[in-house]
Each structure stands twice: as C-alpha cells, then as structure tokens.
Amino acid sequence: MSILVGRSTRLVVQGITGREGEFHARAMLEYGTPLVAGVTPGKGGQRAVDGRVPVFDTVAEAVEATGANTSCIFVPAAGAPDAILEAVAAGIGTIFCITEGIPALDMIPVVAAVEAAGARLVGPNCPGATSPGEAKVGIIPGAIHRPGRVGVVSRSGTLTYEAVQAMTDAGIGQSTCVGIGGDPIVGSSFVDVLRLFAADPETGAIVLIGEIGGSAEEEAAAWAADHLADRPKVAFVAGRTAPEGRRMGHAGAIISGGRGTAASKVAALEAAGFLVASSPSEIPALLRSAGVRD
C-alpha cells in the first residue's frame, strides 16, 4: 500500500500540451503511472505525448471519458487557482499543483473550496508524490526511488531528491515520497500527510524534511508525538545558517521576529522523538539506528 498515489490512481494532467506538462507527462508514463488523460482548453480531441494520451477541453470531459480520479497541474500561475477549482468541480479527489509563483491570497479561497468539497490538494509549488514501483505524479525523478516502507514528507524539491537518493543508495526503500511545497499557503500540511502515513500499515517509519519559516515542523512534531510514537522517525531541517528576515528562495522560507528558526524546529522534532540529521547523508544511518532494515 501507499498514500495519495498508487495502483488505483487514474491521472489527468492539466496543462499537458505545455512544455513542462508534456515533458513530465512523458516521464510519468515511462514510470508506469496510469496517466489516462490530459486537459488543455481548445485542444480537445488531440493526442499528447506521441499520441499516447487523449486531450480534453475540460476536466469534466476527461473524468467522464476516462474515470480520472487524480490531477496534476502544470498550468501557469495566473490560471492555476482556476485549474484547481475546475478539478474540484469535476469531482477529482486528489489534486497536485506543481505550479510555482501563485500569490498567497489567491490560494486562500481555493484551499477553502477544496476543503469544503472534501477533496485533497497537495501544493502548490510542490514536486508531487511517488509511490515507488506503483506511480509517480509530478516532477520527482523516478530513478531515485526504491520500493520500501519509509514514508517521506518534505517542503522542498531537490533536497528531497537528495535525501531519497541517499536512502535508496543505502538500500532503504520508500512507501511514498510526498513534497508538500514551499509556499506560505499549501493545500496539505505536514500533519495532513503524517495522518495518511499513520493510517498506512505499510509505512513503517517516517522521514520529515523541513526548512526554516512558519511553524509547520513544530505542528508536525506535536502531532507525531501523539500519533506516531511507535514508529521510527528521522528529520532534517534546512536553513541552520539562514539569516533572519531574508526570504530563502521559497516564498515561505523566512525567519521573522525570531520565529521559524531551524533551532526551534530541531528542538521540537527532537522532543517529539525524531532523530534529527545534520546532513541528508546521515538519514539512512539514523533510520538504521532506529531499527529500519530495508
């Protein structure tokens, strides 16, 4: 088993005829993801990715024709909030928004609408999720994975790849790797994803990769202390050397008023029973020391 994406995923890619959309759609297909449809308004009836994927004008038509239940959005920032709402209206249950640069205030009504409809949004500005050997949705390189029992959740992109590659190299596989995105307003928090991992019997251990800014890591630590006490937990927090008051690339990565520091997050995670690595390369050894075998 796995969370968010897996064997029952039937994926529609919104923005499939764009450069990014088509490139990553091809990589998802090659990984074996059940990619059943693409959507680009005005290009309905065409086929994308060397003719392998039917393109529809609307998400509703794609759902009707293919039974799609998951969406991955590559639509540019100006249209991405609308693309999310279109997916919700078409009854898509799990939506990944890869798009970066969406203004925070645009996302507030969108996440409220997603929540009200009972759907789940991951991102925006996220790399997606992979359940190794089953499906990958988003832009995480497929080759870094190995099937296994460690659930990985992260706010970052390439840093996640770094950590996952280190695990795979050490022979430690993953149940699902989820990037929740680095924006201030995201659809799924660390806690939302940890809740799914907690309910997944095949996720035996957790790796959480955080960074400076906000309090999502502290909230995750508090939740994990109560609900994941029996599972090995390893964490890494990026930004120990980040100066206060400067946005470190991600819109959400900023220490302000002395809050959101790496030190505060590391302390909270350690208090909640996480082993905290001081380099991504230490994650496999910490997992081993906590009893993870493969």
């Binding site: 925070a104 645009d106 409220a112 992109g157 390439t158 307003i185 990026a238 050397t241 819109a251």
Partner: protein, 402 residues
C-alpha cells in the same frame, strides 16, 4: 517586498483609512520646509521619522519631535546622519505630531497554519506585538477573515469591542476592514498599524474631539503578485537594495549575499540552504544563498557565476546540482564556459548528480576542476580550497545580514 512607511501610508489612504498628512524629505532644508507648512496649518509640533526598511527606528534615535522649523531642520540633519542596522538613512518623513490619548495595535497577515487572513488586535499599542504575545497573550484578539468575503462587519465589531473601542465603533470597524481591504487590493502579506492611535484634536469651534488615526504603517507585499501590480513595483526602494539583487532578479535567480568566503551555486531552495549549512558544518562560511532554479539553464549558470564572483570575499565556489532530469554534461560545459568568461577565477568544486553525471565529471576533471560525489565531500573540499587561497583580505562589511 518591504516598502517604506510613506508608501504604506499611501496604500492605507487609498482605501479610505485615516492617516495623518506627511511629507518625505531627502535633506534637512526640505524637512524644514515641510515642517513650516505643518506649523502654518496649526500643528504645535512635528515628528521627524527615519525612512528605513528595518525595525527599531525609535530605539536608534530615528524618530524625534520638533517644536519649531529650526528644530525640525536640526533633528532631520541628525537623523539623516544615522545608520540604522547597517542602513544609512537617506530620507525622513515629516508629519504633524499627534496628541495621543491611547495607542492600539492592529494588523492583518497571512496565517499559514489556518490558511486564512488573520486580523490581530491589541489594546497595548506602540510596543512590538511579539512582546505582548510573550507577556500577555490574552491581550491579543485574533479573528480569521472569511476566505471568500474578507473581514465581515460582525468580525470587525468583535475586534473593536475587544480593544475597548466601543465608543468609536464605526471608525474602528472601518479601519479593521480597511486593513484587510488594503491587503487584498495590493496582495500584501502583512498590513500592520502600530500604533493605531486615539488622538485628541481641536475641532473648528474650539471643541476637543477624539478620533482614530493610523500613526504608523508597515506593509510587505507578496513578491509572487508583483507582476500584476506594476504600480507597486515602483515602490521598491532601490536606495536600500544591493545592485546584485537587481541583477539576480533579472535572471530569475534567488540570491542572498552573506558574509562568508564560499560562493554557492545550487538548484533548489531547500538544497541551497542545506549546502550553506554543510559548508558551515565543514568549518567554512557561505558567501551567499543562490538558487538557479530548475533546469540549470546555461544562461542562468553564467549569470550565477557573475553574481558570485562579483562578491570580493569569495575565495572558492561550490556548485551543487541535483540533476534528476537535467543533463549533467550540459551543466558541466555551461559552468566551464561561464568560468572562462570571467576575469577573476577562484577554485571551483563541482558536484553534479543525475543524468550523465559520469560524463560531467570527466569534462570537469579534464579542465582541472575539482569534483565530488557527495554533498558532504563537496563542502569539505570547497572549505579546504578556500583555505588554500589564503586568509581573507580585510573585506568591506556586507549589508547582507540586515
């Protein structure tokens, strides 16, 4: 993006919020002229405030009162000579001084955990809200605005009553709603009025009245939304901006200059922070945060190289590219070309992971560039390379950590 108080006040005024009149002056005589106008209009005193994008102006002597035009000029001269947290004061705001009866705190901001706009108010104005939160959290009222409709009237009334502003309900409601409206109209992350002041004024018949005014204003804008607000882009204070920041923005590179000697070029923000952390752990100091974004495109690699080498403190460059889908050999060639185009060379340690990483390594080693397999190894090699270059010459203090 942070904007100056005067610009923040103009955004509040545009939403109909009560802001005292002000004028910005770049030299003491302009400050004097502004003060003379306010005295002529009946002000008893004026306040002269440093316009800098850092907090703690008051404590640094950057906010002072004056009772005469002479005094205003002298005070402005003193403030314009200040450097506050590394920022030289280049302009001051002059405004009639208010007769303050009581001070309050009111702000609207993006609450990430709740995924809503949060309005916070406190009857303890004029002090930092963090201080109030630490000392007396119950003194802060918090209301989340409706995600679709913004702050509703009843919500604004609750805030007003909680602040003890029942006698000024209509004004207080308009101000609370106005903060959220200012936020939404300009895509701000934060709109803070501290203090919101109840001031005593003498009416036309000589009868004293009390009303609420926004005595100070702090607004930060969402960088992601700036493309659709060209009028706000004009509020960017180029005086306080490092020219390299401008150059970085032009190439869509996230660059933040720091005080160390190891220049870092990385793809991805989280990995870029991690690279800095590992440089520090290996005994070095990072010279910058730099995220070249996805794809490691040749033009961005070249621009990143220029930005890093423009910093005279840099003694070695650490390149860390987790390719995944990027072709490592192309990145390697791009790096060598970018380096060849620079007048100054420093040792470079390159670590490339992903497609064609082995070929990338051969290309780099053939050009006598040091390579590394792991990030930890790359950090250690970069620190060693910088040490070989020798001790740092007395470098100019950077303003990066402001």
């Amino acid at each position: 993006m942070k904007i100056q108080e005067a610009d923040a006040k103009s955004l509040l005024a545009a939403q109909g919020l009560p802001v005292p009149p002000w004028q910005v002056a770049r030299d003491p005589s302009a400050a004097r002229a502004a003060a003379e106008r306010f005295f002529a209009a009946g002000a008893e005193r004026v306040v002269v405030k440093a316009q800098v994008l850092v907090g703690g102006r008051g404590k640094a002597g950057g906010v002072r009162l004056a009772a005469t035009p002479d005094e205003a000029e002298a005070v402005a001269r003193a403030i314009l000579a200040l450097t506050i947290k590394g920022i030289p004061v280049r302009k001051v705001l002059v405004s009639p001084a208010a007769d303050i009866v009581a001070e309050y705190y009111l702000a609207a901001l993006v609450d990430r955990s709740a995924r809503r706009i949060l309005v916070m108010g406190s009857a303890e104005g004029g002090v930092e809200i963090e201080e109030v939160a630490a000392r007396n959290p119950a003194a802060i009222v918090r209301i989340h605005a409706d995600p679709y409709l913004g702050l509703l009237d009843w919500q604004a009334r609750r805030i007003a009553f909680a602040l003890g502003l029942g006698a000024h309900l209509r004004e207080a409601v308009a101000i609370a709603k106005g903060l959220v409206a200012t936020m939404r109209a300009n895509d701000a992350d934060l709109v803070e009025v501290n203090p919101l002041a109840l001031v005593r004024e003498v009416g036309p018949e000589g009868i004293p009245t009390e009303r609420l005014v926004c005595l100070d204003a702090k607004v930060t804008l969402d960088d992601s939304a700036l493309p659709r607000h060209p009028e706000l882009e004009a509020m960017r204070d180029l005086d306080e901006e490092d020219p390299v920041d401008l150059e970085a923005r032009r190439h869509d590179i996230s660059y933040i200059r720091l005080d160390g000697t190891i220049g870092c070029m990385v793809n991805g923000a989280g990995l870029a922070m991690t690279t800095m952390d590992l440089v520090k752990r290996a005994g070095g100091e990072p010279a910058n945060f730099l995220d070249i974004g996805g794809g490691a495109r040749a033009d961005r690699v070249a621009a990143a190289m220029r930005l890093i080498l423009a910093d005279p403190n840099v003694r070695a460059i650490l390149v860390n590219i987790f390719g995944g889908i990027t072709r490592g050999d192309e990145v390697a060639r791009g790096l060598l070309e970018a380096r060849a185009a620079q007048a100054r060379t420093v040792p470079m340690v390159v670590r490339i992971v992903g497609t064609n990483a082995d070929e990338a390594r051969r290309i780099l080693e053939a050009a006598d560039v040091e390579t590394a397999t792991s990030l930890d190894e790359a950090a250690a090699k970069a620190v060693a390379a910088a040490a070989r270059v020798g001790p740092m010459a007395a470098a100019e203090p950077s303003e990066a950590n402001r």
